[in-house]
């Protein structure tokens, strides 16, 4: 399961560190103690930044790095689609062989296909993605409140 891509992202995470954001969340994987603090900054429907800090295994760290790569600069609708595709891949129990279409959407994130065979690690891979979803919802609802 430790694809080179994953190890690369783990050793050299992209976009790590907390920067300004519209909403912040703190998520924990209770079974193993992985933690992430994640902020989202939106500009209308565009994701300006996803910044994060946390501790965890290579899978959860690399996954946050890949998320940063994939989502920053995207429109929310598109980001949502990427998130859903990643979720589908991770819940596939190793049954889904990523095809070209999936690879186009997920880019580096297809490297996580192997992780989906390990139920105990799926949560690690999803930690940052769930945090992102939560933070985005929060940012949007705060925006709605101030609007």
């Amino acid at each position: 399961m430790y694809q080179d891509v994953i190890l690369d992202h783990y050793k050299h995470p992209h976009g790590r560190g907390l920067r300004d954001g519209d909403a912040e969340v703190h998520h924990v994987n209770p079974t193993c103690g992985d933690e992430i603090t994640l902020r989202v900054r939106l500009d209308g429907a565009t994701i300006e930044d996803v910044s994060y800090e946390g501790q965890g295994c290579s899978i959860s760290q690399a996954s946050a790095s890949v998320l940063n790569d994939l989502l920053v600069g995207k429109e929310l609708g598109e980001a949502q689609k990427i998130q859903e595709t990643f979720l589908e891949l991770m819940q596939s129990k190793g049954q889904v062989e990523p095809d070209d279409a999936m690879e186009e959407v997920l880019e580096d994130a297809v490297a996580f296909a192997g992780v989906s065979k390990y139920p105990a690690r799926v949560k690690c891979a999803l930690l940052s993605w769930m945090a992102w979803k939560d933070a985005t919802a929060k940012a949007l609802s705060e925006e709605a409140k101030t609007a």
Partner: protein, 418 residues
């Protein structure tokens, strides 16, 4: 051999149950008619237990090694099987306990510690029935004592049915919970769920069904039942001892507080406070009965492969035959419904003045295993003014020949004490 319509191929089925070959008292093959107490186990279940211990044993959850993942998959796979077996809307509604008694205590305790609108306290009423197993009486007595709530119950008619004539006085606006058995473990009575649930829903009371004597014998569909909780036990349905089930509606399991605290049921723990995992884990403290859940999963597979509707049909045929044959025995009085309608394959009776202990002992000498006593349903004995009954209870492997052996055995008992 007596042929009855609807019988299963018991010759084939009995080969799956090693214990049925057991000989007792100088070579008599056992006639096992104590199935309401516990069922025998098919080879398939024992194989699943052995395979688990010999190849996959590890503690579940929280593990990244291959055994831990296999054990977790087997344990959670058993939850899926049980959820399917009872047609649960979600696997997360299936809680593994150690037996039906724990399941029922779990419900009582959830409500005792709950906040409004579920909380049971001195302003509220709890409703049960006079035909409950002690495991569906004592938890509610304890809850009533400890919260000040009032315990009420339905009585029993002369022919062993629930007396629902005063249902509107028993179940009232004060009623928070109605808990009753789907099938009586002493009389075999099948109770009219719908009537009771309709009234409970009218007043907004929760309903808990004790399906310990139903799950082994008939199609159990928790969605069709429309109850809020359903409890049953593994060892009566071809599963191992040490495993029970509580099914509960998801919203309730989310809202209600935990019962036992410990490993597995938490989300995060600090010395100052803890938060709890979502159901079902919230209610499964400590290392669960892993092998036993796997065994129950295999039992459910086994029963499903034969077909719960077919099993019900088989038992109905046996019951009809047994009721008829038993009523031919002089001085035998059935305690409970004396026909095969709306009743399960459990028949309690008295035999003249001969004490059930003596009936059971002399039957045992002939290799026939029945249960005698109050069957953990003493209020039923009190109701009928008897100290005890003799109870014969059948299952998917029971045969008309075993009914005949019982009847012959009873004749011998009568002669012996005559």
């Amino acid at each position: 051999m007596t042929q009855l319509p609807g019988l299963l191929d018991t010759e084939a089925i009995r080969k799956d149950f090693p214990l049925l070959d057991r000989q007792v008292h100088d070579g008599r093959k056992i006639v096992y008619l104590d199935n309401a107490a516990t069922s025998q186990k098919p080879r398939q279940v024992l194989d699943a237990l052995n395979a688990y211990y010999e190849r996959h044993n590890a503690n579940v959850h929280r593990g990244v090694h291959v055994l831990a993942e296999e054990a977790t998959a087997l344990y959670e796979g058993a939850r899926d099987k049980v959820a399917d077996f009872i047609n649960a809307p979600s696997r997360n509604e299936v809680i593994f306990t150690k037996n039906a008694s724990e399941s029922l205590n779990l419900v009582a305790n959830m409500l005792g510690w709950a906040d409004e609108p579920y909380r049971v306290d001195r302003e509220t009423e709890i409703v049960i029935t006079e035909m409950e197993h002690h495991s569906n009486i004592v938890p509610w007595q304890l809850l009533a004592q400890r919260t000040g709530a009032k315990l009420k119950w339905f009585g029993i008619t002369d022919d062993g049915r629930l007396d629902l004539s005063n249902i509107d006085e028993i179940i009232t606006e004060q009623t928070k919970i109605v808990s009753f058995t789907l099938v009586s473990n002493i009389m075999g009575t099948v109770n009219p769920v719908e009537t009771i649930i309709r009234r409970a829903q009218e007043v907004g009371a929760l309903v808990c069904i004790d399906a310990s004597q139903a799950a082994p014998h008939m199609v159990l569909d928790v969605q069709a039942l429309q109850a809020d909780f359903v409890a049953f036990t593994g060892h009566k349905m071809c599963g191992p001892t040490g495993i029970g089930v509580l099914w509960g509606r998801q919203e309730l399991l989310e809202d209600l507080p935990p019962f036992l605290g410990g490993g597995e049921m938490i989300e995060t723990v600090s010395m100052h406070s803890s938060t709890y995992a979502p159901a079902p884990h919230k209610f499964e403290a400590g290392t669960p009965p892993i092998a036993q859940a796997v065994g129950l999963g295999a039992a459910v597979d086994y029963l499903t492969s034969i077909g719960m509707d077919k099993i019900a049909e088989h038992e109905h045929a046996i019951t009809e035959y047994a009721v008829k044959r038993l009523l031919e025995v002089p001085d035998l009085r059935i305690v409970g419904p004396s026909t095969a309608e709306d009743r399960g394959a459990t028949i309690s009776f008295t035999l003249g003045d001969i004490h059930p202990h003596d009936v059971g002992q002399v039957l045992d000498e002939q290799g026939i295993a029945v249960r005698v006593g109050h069957h953990c349903a003493r209020p039923v004995c009190l109701r009928f003014g008897i100290p005890a009954t003799t109870r014969a209870s059948f299952y998917l492997y029971s045969t008309p020949a075993e009914v005949d052996a019982l009847v012959a055995g009873l004749e011998h008992v009568r002669n012996f004490f005559g």
